[in-house]
Each structure stands twice: as structure tokens, then as C-alpha cells.
């Protein structure tokens, strides 16, 4: 890994770690009481209250993994922590997307949803992990570089 890439990785994943940590805290607070919806960001956990505390713990852990990976980022064991954090975010975000897919297929009155209802299932607001998913994909570059 080149020095510039390492430097970028350190800064990028430190910021992402802080954001993941903040989202984790927000979801933890949301699971204890009422969360918040801010624009297209939804941290109320209204759709899956049973899973919310677990999701919060996973995001917190992912944030800590990212932060602990930034020192000597190019070293393989350190990089592995950032990869693991990203995989944890992919699991949580993947399940949030899967939940939308599963609920978008059957219709309310008919067997299958109509196009309008189907598309409406994917409309905002989105949960924090779906935003993190996008930014966590940067790790793929480092994985390919390492291999």
C-alpha cells in the first residue's frame, strides 16, 4: 500500500468510525425511548423495535473497529479490523434492504404489490446503516489492493 493511500485510509476510516459510533449511540438512545427522524435519516426504529438495540451495539462495535484500525493502517491485522467493521455494516444494512424487499413484494389487497406501492417501499427515510453502507464500500479498494 502506498503512503498516500495509507494516509487517506487512516483519515477516511477515522471519520467513518466516528460517524458509525455516533449512529450507534443514536440508535441506542432510540431503543431506550423515542428516536428521531431528520430529513431522510430515520433513527426511530419504528419498523423493527425488537432488533434496534442489537443494531445499535453492532454499529457501536463497527465504529470502534474502524477507530482502532487507523493506527498503522497498512498493516494487515489493522486493515482486517476495518474490513470486519465494514462487513458488520454490510450485514446490518443488507438486512435493512432485505426487509424492504420482503415487504415490497406482497400487496395489501392483492397478491402482489402494484408498481406504485412497490416503489413507495423504497422511498426515504432511511436508517443510519444504509448511509454507512455506501461509505463503507471504500474498503473494497483496500481489500483488492491487499490481495
Amino acid at each position: 500500500m502506498k503512503e498516500g493511500e495509507e494516509k487517506f485510509g487512516q483519515i477516511y476510516f477515522a471519520v467513518l468510525g466516528v460517524v458509525a459510533l455516533a449512529f450507534g449511540v443514536a440508535e441506542l438512545i432510540a431503543s431506550a425511548g423515542e428516536g428521531f427522524t431528520w430529513g431522510i435519516l430515520d433513527s426511530s426504529g419504528a419498523s423493527d423495535p425488537m432488533f434496534l438495540p442489537w443494531k445499535a451495539i453492532i454499529l457501536l462495535a463497527a465504529g470502534l473497529f474502524y477507530l482502532s484500525s487507523v493506527n498503522n493502517f497498512a498493516e494487515v491485522h489493522q486493515l482486517a479490523k476495518a474490513v470486519m467493521a465494514s462487513i458488520m455494516i454490510w450485514i446490518v444494512a443488507g438486512m435493512a434492504i432485505w426487509a424492504r424487499i420482503a415487504s415490497s413484494i406482497p400487496g395489501e389487497e392483492t397478491w402482489f404489490n402494484n408498481l406504485e406501492g412497490f416503489l413507495a417501499s423504497y422511498a426515504p427515510p432511511y436508517c443510519p446503516e444504509m448511509f454507512l453502507l455506501l461509505f463503507s464500500l471504500v474498503i473494497v479498494y483496500y481489500i483488492l489492493k491487499e490481495e
Binding site: A61, V83, M84, I91, A99, P106
Partner: protein, 418 residues
């Protein structure tokens, strides 16, 4: 002439020096990730994420998409009304009541059911439990299980929980039969065979039979009481560890170490996943379907002949006094001998009729889990354990039902919910 132990080791040394090349090996990213997943500090959050993904997929695949999305509509809006219109007899006809709809009393009048949970018929409740709920739950469970198994995560989970399970006389490998039992107790009991001592096998089988609900049962519980699932699993996990600890202290025998192969992580192949899914799901259906239908017939006949009312009257004081559940719980408890998923389904019918409070439903679900293994599991235990061990397992079951069931009732009273 046979070699002494020292001479053997010398020979091994000589052979390995000539055949094995030693040198520094650079850790790859895969190795580093593999290490992270077995160290407790990093491995536990990863395990939480994996289990989260597992159950989240399970709930949305089986619950949201198939059961709630399609099957409830298919069975309640099409299958049940069609059977009610074409099946000869009608309400009050015993054969009709057994096969289609027993009906229920509303304002002193016997009325037809409007959903398959309440109908209690072989062709309605029986079919709905198997094909409307359980099939999709089992399919989702085994799909995720096969992916984790083939990716190489399960052995790492075993290493991770090794320390905790040693406290109850088992080792990390016990997580494999436990996880398998969450799909179906039958392969779970079979998977106890690699355990080395009779003590470990006895303990494992007893814990599986009492505290690990099968995928079918979980599927029905998820459909009926989704908001209670966390509490149900927590109660069962406390029982599993607590009772395991006690068993470890009182059962004689040793709990030796077991060396386990931890393979490298790898990408699961579609062919293997499909094959495993087919074998496990089809075997499950072969075992489950006859028992569910037989269970429906027995419960239906007991209702029709009045045997259920008699049993409810006899066992009612015990059920109400000790466990805090109504006498109507007798029916699901009897059905539970054959299939626990069917039993929870019957419980769902009682719930819909407003016979039970939320806490009573919770207690009944726990009682159904712990009071006896289903017939298929019990038959396998008879094969795997000797007479003394079977008696031991049964004695443990009885003791556990009364102690744990009573304890839950007591906690309910103290919290003011029972």
C-alpha cells in the same frame, strides 16, 4: 519389535525434518480476519452481527414475505372458505369438525372460524402450520445455516463460546448441535455423537430436548408473539446455562477436551447450498408432516369425545395453581407430544379467542418448549441413550418443568403481571 513412545517421537522428528519445510509465513488478510473472529474482544461483536443477520433474514423471509405476505391470505381467504363451502357436513358434524373447522362459541352460538389458527381442523390448522408457516421458517433457517457452515464461521463460533460452555461441562463444539437443533432437534441430537463421554452426550441431549426450540416452533412463535421473542430466548438461554451448570455438578463422568478442525474461510458454493437445503428441508418435512397431521387428529378426537374437557378439569388446578396458565393449555400440551409447532399453533387459536393474557401466553410458550421433546426427538433419544440415561433425562425434564415453570410464575406474580 514395537517402538517405545520416545522412539516413535524421534522417528516423527526425523521424518518431519526431511519432509516439512519451515519458514516465516506472512499473514494474509483472510488469516487476520479469521483471528479477529475467534478473539473474544472482537469475536463477540462479530458473532452478534452474524446472529443478527441470521434472525433478521429469518423473520423477513419466513414471516414478512411468505407467511404474512402470501400464506395467511391463501389459507384464510381462499383455502378455509373453499373447504367450508365444499366439505360435506357443516358445523356440529364431527367429521367436518375434525377435518375442517371445529368452530367456536360466540354469544352462546357455535360459529364458523375465519382463520386457520382457530379452525383446529386437520386440513386447515394442520396444513397451515406445515405449509403456511413451518416450511418457510425451516427453509430460511437451513439456508442461513448452510451458508455459515460452508463459509467456515461455525467452527470459529465454537472456539469463541468454548470458555463459556466449559463452565457447564461442555465445550465449544456443543454450539453445533445447539444451532442445528434450532432448525430441528432430530439432527441436533444426532450431532451429539462426536462428543466423547456419555456424560457430555447425556447433558447435551437433555439440554437440547428441554431448552432449544426447533425452527418450526420458532416460526410459529414469531408469527404469534413477535414482541415476546427476545424474552422467550433470554428465558431459554438462562435455563440452558443454569440447568447445564447444575447437571455438570450432579452427573458423574468426565468432560474431556475435544480437538476441532477450524478450516479457512471460503466462499460457499451454490451447488452445495442447494443440495444441503434440499436434503435437510425434505427430511424435515418427511418427519414433520405425518406428526402434525396425526397431532391434529388426536387433538380433534379428544375435543370431540370430551376427553380434552376431562383432562382440562383434572389438570386445571395444577396448571392454574403452579404454572399460572388456564386449563385450556392442556390441548397444546398434549399436541406438543407430537409436534411443538402444532402445539404453539393451537395456543395461537386460544390467544385469538382471548382466553389467555399476554403473560400466560409467554409462560405457555416456555412450558411447551421445556416440558417434553417432540415424539421424533424422543424416539431418537431412546435410540441414542441407554435405559438409565433415558430415565435420567425424563427425571430432569419433570424436575425442570416444575422448578422453571413455577419460577416463571413466581417472577410474574412479583412483577404483578401473572
Amino acid at each position: 519389535m514395537p517402538l517405545s513412545v520416545d522412539a516413535r517421537w524421534d522417528l516423527i522428528d526425523k521424518i518431519s525434518k526431511q519432509t516439512v519445510e519451515f519458514g516465516a509465513r506472512k499473514h494474509t488478510l483472510k488469516d487476520a480476519i479469521a483471528e479477529l473472529t475467534v478473539k473474544p474482544l472482537t469475536g463477540i461483536p462479530v458473532a452478534i452481527a452474524v446472529i443478527y443477520g441470521f434472525w433478521s433474514f429469518f423473520c423477513d423471509f419466513a414471516g414478512t414475505l411468505f407467511t404474512d405476505g402470501f400464506m395467511v391470505r391463501l389459507f384464510d381467504e381462499h383455502w378455509l372458505p373453499w373447504l367450508q363451502s365444499v366439505f360435506p357436513g357443516g358445523l356440529k358434524n364431527p367429521f367436518y369438525a375434525l377435518m375442517v373447522d371445529a368452530g367456536h362459541i360466540e354469544g352462546g352460538v357455535l360459529v364458523a372460524s375465519d382463520n386457520c389458527f382457530e379452525a383446529f381442523g386437520v386440513l386447515t390448522s394442520g396444513f397451515f402450520v406445515v405449509f403456511g408457516v413451518v416450511l418457510w421458517a425451516v427453509l430460511a433457517f437451513y439456508l442461513m445455516f448452510a451458508i455459515l457452515e460452508d463459509a467456515g464461521y461455525l467452527p470459529r463460533l465454537a472456539v469463541l463460546v468454548d470458555t463459556v460452555l466449559h463452565k457447564i461441562g461442555l465445550h465449544g463444539y456443543a454450539i453445533v448441535p445447539t444451532f442445528l437443533s434450532l432448525g430441528c432437534n432430530v439432527p441436533g441430537v444426532t450431532a451429539t455423537r462426536p462428543l466423547e463421554t456419555r456424560k457430555q452426550r447425556f447433558m447435551m441431549m437433555t439440554l437440547l430436548a428441554i431448552f432449544v426450540p426447533c425452527g418450526a416452533q420458532i416460526g410459529i412463535m414469531q408469527d404469534l408473539v413477535p414482541e415476546m421473542m427476545g424474552w422467550i430466548f433470554l428465558t431459554l438461554a438462562i435455563g440452558y446455562l443454569g440447568f447445564g451448570f447444575i447437571l455438570n455438578k450432579i452427573v458423574p463422568g468426565k468432560s474431556p477436551e475435544l480437538i476441532m478442525d477450524v478450516p479457512p474461510y471460503q466462499m460457499p458454493t451454490l451447488r452445495n447450498i442447494v443440495r444441503k437445503l434440499w436434503i435437510r428441508t425434505s427430511r424435515f418435512l418427511i418427519v414433520a408432516v405425518p406428526f402434525v397431521l396425526l397431532g391434529s387428529i388426536i387433538v380433534g378426537l379428544m375435543y370431540l369425545t370430551g376427553a380434552m374437557d376431562w383432562l382440562a378439569a383434572v389438570l386445571g388446578p395444577l396448571l392454574m395453581g403452579w404454572f399460572g396458565v388456564p386449563s385450556e393449555t392442556v390441548a397444546p400440551l398434549i399436541a406438543g407430544f407430537l409436534r411443538k409447532d402444532l402445539a404453539v399453533g393451537i395456543l395461537g387459536g386460544l390467544m385469538e379467542q382471548g382466553i389467555m393474557t399476554t403473560f400466560q401466553v409467554f409462560t405457555s410458550v416456555i412450558l411447551l418448549c421445556i416440558y417434553f421433546p417432540c415424539l421424533a426427538t424422543f424416539a431418537l433419544m431412546l435410540k441414542e441413550e441407554n435405559g438409565k440415561e433415558i430415565l435420567g433425562s425424563l427425571a430432569s425434564l419433570v424436575a425442570m418443568v416444575f422448578v422453571y415453570g413455577g419460577l416463571i410464575h413466581l417472577v410474574g406474580i412479583m412483577l404483578g403481571v401473572a
